[in-house]
Structure formats: structure tokens, C-alpha cells
């Protein structure tokens, strides 16, 4: 390539950023342009709010409204979980839709787009929609259910890093599942639900990890989602989860979250690259499975 042409090419970082931004714009358009903004807003918040209310109904049934602490625990857990469901599904659907439905994945792969940042951008639209669900679920919790969250009392110094690292762990997990989906058939759409369902049980989303069978407690403590939820709860509600998690300070929660996320990110990156290579070698990128 002539030197002048090379100089006119964007650097690798800029190119990756442009791929991410393009993916995000495309993802957002696909996610949101199927209806008018009002219905899209209703769609984005109805599921997480209803998911929280299902759990609140159980608390009402058992305690007759006598467990406001547990209602707060459930509302924050359900609100956060919209990111996990949305984030994981965003990655998997980005692969499946682009490969099977719109049949564009092969063009993305052979173009100059950086595939990994593009995929992260493509999936980020669901995280943005999940953010709306997160906020509205918390507002419903505060206004209708009396969850004690006050803007002035939020520990922002804990909330911001915990949220940022926690979302990073969800993106890492989504990336690993997306890599796996590159090599398997269309029924992979069930995978994010199954994995999110498993994490839902193990991460203390709707009950403290102490309730789990003893053999599963160490597994729960190894998951970044457990520490992320605990950190968010401490930042918003000001109190730790009783029993096991109460024995950790805020700093330890943050360190455990960062450490488990770092491990997960490294593993996820390796998993994604391995499956991406396999998919290219086996010619699976442009295959529609129609199963």
C-alpha cells in the first residue's frame, strides 16, 4: 500500500471504535424501529416491572406486606437482572438474527469491520433498553412499594464502579455465549435464557445465597453477578445482605467483583476467539440452519 494511503487509514483503535459505534447504531435501529416510541417504552419497562411484581406478590402472600426489607431486596435484584437478560440475549440474537434472518453476518465478517467491537455495539442496544427497565423498576419500587432509596443517600462512590464493572462482566459473558452460538444451530436462542436462569438461581438475585444448598454457595461466591448485585444493593439501600455476604466490607465486595470479572473477561475473550476461529474454519459463518 502506498505510504499516503496507509496514512489516510484510521488507526486500529479508531477503526474498532467506528465498528462499535456502527454496530450500536444498527442494533438500536433494529431493536427500536419496529413500533412507535411509546409502545417501545412500554415494551422496554413492562417485563422487568412485572417480573418484580411477581416476586412482590409472593412476599405479600406469605407475609402480608410485613417484609419491606425483602421487598427492597427483590426490587433491586429484579431491576438489575434486566441487564443480565437483555445483555446476554442481545449478543445471541445479534449473531442469530444476522446469520439466519437478515443473512448479513457473512458480509460483516468479510468487510473491514472489526467483528468483536461490532458485535459488542450490536448487542449494546438491549443494554440501553435494559437501563430504562432498571430505572423504571426502581421508580415503581420506590413510589408504589415503598422501597427506601433516596437519591441523596445513594453511595455513588460505590454505585458507579460496581455498576461499570458489573456491566462489563455481563458483556464478557454475552461475548462468550455469542462465540458459542457462531458454531451451533438456531435453537441457540434458548441459551441466554438458560444461562441467565442458572445465574438467577445462583447470584442472589431474588434470595440470599445462604438459601442455596451448601454445595452451591461457593459457586455463587465465585460469580461476578453475585458481587455486582450485592454492591448495587449496598449502594442503593445502604445495608448489606444478611448472613454470608454481610461479612464482607464494601471494599472487599468491589475487589471480589473486579477479580471475578477479570477472570471471566479473559476466559470469555478466549472462548469467543476460539469459537470464531472454528466457525471460520468450518464455514459456519454463512450457513443458515433453519432448524
Amino acid at each position: 500500500m502506498p505510504a499516503g494511503d496507509a496514512a489516510s487509514q484510521p488507526g486500529r483503535g479508531a477503526s474498532a471504535w467506528r465498528s462499535l459505534a456502527t454496530g450500536a447504531r444498527l442494533g438500536w435501529a433494529i431493536e427500536s424501529n419496529w413500533t412507535d416510541p411509546f409502545l417501545f417504552a412500554v415494551y422496554s419497562v413492562a417485563r422487568p416491572v412485572a417480573a418484580a411484581l411477581v416476586l412482590v406478590a409472593i412476599v405479600w402472600l406469605v407475609s402480608g406486606g410485613g417484609r419491606p426489607d425483602y421487598v427492597a431486596y427483590l426490587v433491586v435484584g429484579s431491576a438489575c437482572w434486566t441487564f443480565v437478560g437483555g445483555g446476554m440475549a442481545g449478543f445471541v440474537w445479534a449473531v442469530l438474527d444476522d446469520r439466519e434472518r437478515y443473512r448479513m453476518l457473512k458480509y460483516v465478517v468479510v468487510s473491514s469491520v472489526h467483528f468483536l467491537p461490532f458485535l459488542v455495539g450490536r448487542a449494546s442496544a438491549q443494554l440501553i433498553a435494559a437501563a430504562a427497565g432498571f430505572l423504571v423498576t426502581l421508580v415503581v419500587g420506590v413510589v408504589l412499594l415503598g422501597v427506601p432509596i433516596q437519591l441523596t443517600a445513594i453511595d455513588w462512590r460505590l454505585f458507579v464502579p460496581v455498576m461499570a464493572v458489573g456491566l462489563g462482566s455481563i458483556v464478557a459473558l454475552g461475548l462468550a455465549v455469542a462465540g458459542l452460538c457462531l458454531t451451533i444451530r438456531r435453537e441457540a436462542w434458548s441459551y441466554p435464557e438458560a444461562i441467565a436462569g442458572g445465574l438467577y438461581l445462583l447470584s442472589g438475585a431474588i434470595f440470599p445465597p445462604d438459601v442455596l444448598p451448601p454445595a452451591l454457595v461457593p459457586v455463587a461466591l465465585a460469580l461476578p453477578t453475585t458481587w455486582w448485585l450485592e454492591g448495587v444493593r449496598r449502594a442503593l439501600l445502604g445495608t448489606p445482605t444478611p448472613e454470608i455476604l454481610a461479612g464482607f466490607s464494601d471494599q472487599m465486595v468491589l475487589i471480589a467483583l473486579c477479580a471475578s470479572t477479570a477472570v471471566l473477561t479473559l476466559v470469555s475473550w478466549a472462548v469467543f476467539r476460539t469459537f470464531e476461529r472454528l466457525a471460520r474454519e468450518r464455514g459456519l459463518i454463512d450457513q443458515t440452519t433453519g432448524s
Binding site: T35, A50, A51, A57, V59, L61, V62, E187, Y200, I206
Partner: protein, 293 residues
């Protein structure tokens, strides 16, 4: 000539060929029902990954809700509510995705135009989907009930077996009638169909009283009973299955059985009307073959 309605001989004119008797129309539609149900019945045990996910996903939910009940130190009988809800969830998910959204998938795969060009009523296709889906979901629901009952030691207390059987069947008829209505509505839609099916998950779990009796919902329970066969049927089934747990029903099971009969008739009629209307509209607007919307 053979008596078979499918025996084909030379006709004097196209008009004669197209003049089908009621027997031939009925037989063709019965074959359509059987033909559409067949892949679901045969396929229910064929694709191992589907079996796993169709059982594992509702069962994970059951486990989560059982542990919530345990975290709240609820009476052990309440754990049965979660197991029962997980079993009925298998039917609801089937109605939503394999009935409501099915014609949307079929359009994407190119099957829809075949249905429309075949000399059959689309209601036969929907009925076949319902029969096959019902069988498929029943196998999943039975497994979820068995696993949940064994793992969490659920004790059932049934006094009125006949009424329980009748209410269960009525619930399924009403649910699949609603599925047929949704399939008719979704015929006209593109990606909206997929998103709306998604939207009908958690809100229906809440309003349908899947994991806690609808009585807890207060005034919202009346709304649920008015529109959701899942809410009515599950409330009646729960009362009849846990007859030793007092005061959990919103209405007496006999009244809920009558509501289910009315819902079944209404949904099937509405499905037929909606199917005709949206088919005409979709044909006029050229949407029957539009893919990748």
C-alpha cells in the same frame, strides 16, 4: 372409482373439479389437522436440545420461586404453588411461541404461502398446531410436575378429581383458543409479533398468578379473571389440587369452570373472525409473503 375423497379422476370441466362435496372438504381439513399436528407429536421427543430447554427453563423458574418461598419461611404447601405454576408455564410458553408467533415464523420460512394456496381452512392449520402443541406441552408439564414434586416433596390434596379434570381440559381449550386468536392477529404483523409475544411473558406471569394466587393482587385479580384463561384456570386448579390450604381462591372453582367455557367459545369465535379479517387485509396489503420485516 374408489370412495376415497382423494381419488382423482378426469373431470368434465374446471368448475366440476372445484366443486367439492362436504365430505371431501371435511376429510381434507381433518388431514390438514393431522398433518400439522404430526411434526409436533413426532418431534416432541426427537430434538433432544428442545426437550432439555423446554423442561429446564420452566424448572429453573420453579426452583427460583421455591427458594424464594423458603427464604420467606413460607408454609411448605406454598411450594406446591410454584411447582404447579411451572407446569402450567410450559403450556403458556407453547401457546405464546408455538401458537401465537408460529405463523410469523412460518412466513419467514416460506410455509405460510403454502398454507394459503392449499385447499384447506387456515383454522385447520391452527387446530393442528394446537393439538400437537398440547401434546408436546403436556409431556413437558408432566415431567416438571414429577421432578418438582419429588425434589421438593410437594403434597397434593385433591377431593374432586372429576372437576379437576374438567377444569384442566377447559383451561387448555381456552388457552389454545387464545393462542389461535393471537396467531390470527400476529398474521398481519412483522417483528411486532415477536416483540409482543415477548411482552406477554412476565406481565402474564404476574396477572395470571403463576407463582402466587391471584387473590393477592386485589382489584387486579378481577381484571385477570376477565381476560386471561391462565389466571382463571390456574386459580381453579390450585384450589382443587391443594384443597387443604384454605382461602386461596379468588372465585369458587365451579364458577371459574363456567368462565372458562365462555372464554373458550369467545376465543375460538374471535380467532375465526380475526383470521378471516386479517387474512383479507394481509392479502390486500401484500404482507403474506413479506419476510425479514
Amino acid at each position: 372409482m374408489s370412495a376415497s375423497p382423494y381419488a382423482h379422476g378426469p373431470a368434465a370441466s374446471p368448475a366440476e373439479e372445484s366443486a367439492w362435496g362436504p365430505g371431501r372438504v371435511l376429510a381434507t381439513n381433518l388431514r390438514a389437522i393431522t398433518g400439522r399436528a404430526y411434526p409436533r407429536v413426532r418431534g416432541s421427543l426427537r430434538e433432544k436440545s428442545w426437550i432439555f430447554f423446554e423442561i429446564a427453563l420452566p424448572f429453573l423458574s420453579v426452583c427460583a420461586f421455591v427458594l424464594v418461598y423458603r427464604a420467606l419461611a413460607a408454609p411448605e404447601a406454598y411450594i406446591g404453588f410454584a411447582v404447579l405454576g411451572g407446569a402450567i408455564l410450559a403450556f403458556w410458553l407453547n401457546v405464546l411461541w408455538a401458537m401465537g408467533a408460529q405463523l410469523y415464523w412460518d412466513r419467514g420460512e416460506g410455509n405460510l404461502e403454502i398454507y394459503f394456496t392449499a385447499p384447506i381452512s387456515l383454522m385447520s392449520i391452527l387446530l393442528g398446531m394446537a393439538v400437537g402443541g398440547l401434546y408436546m406441552s403436556a409431556t413437558r408439564a408432566l415431567l416438571i410436575i414429577a421432578m418438582g414434586s419429588l425434589l421438593f416433596d410437594v403434597q397434593y390434596s385433591v377431593d374432586q378429581w372429576v372437576l379437576l379434570g374438567v377444569v384442566f381440559l377447559l383451561t387448555l381449550v381456552a388457552l389454545y383458543g387464545l393462542g389461535m386468536l393471537m396467531a390470527s392477529l400476529f398474521l398481519f404483523w412483522g417483528r411486532e409479533a415477536w416483540h409482543l409475544a415477548n411482552l406477554f411473558q412476565e406481565p402474564v406471569y404476574f396477572l395470571g398468578g403463576l407463582y402466587a394466587p391471584i387473590k393477592v393482587l386485589g382489584p387486579l385479580a378481577a381484571l385477570a379473571v376477565g381476560i386471561l384463561p391462565l389466571a382463571v384456570g390456574l386459580d381453579a386448579i390450585r384450589q382443587l389440587t391443594f384443597s387443604d390450604v384454605p382461602d386461596i381462591g379468588f372465585l369458587p372453582p365451579e364458577v371459574e369452570a363456567v368462565i372458562l367455557v365462555l372464554m373458550s367459545i369467545a376465543f375460538l369465535l374471535l380467532a375465526r373472525i380475526a383470521l378471516g379479517y386479517f387474512e383479507r387485509k394481509a392479502r390486500a396489503e401484500g404482507r403474506l409473503m413479506a419476510r425479514w420485516q
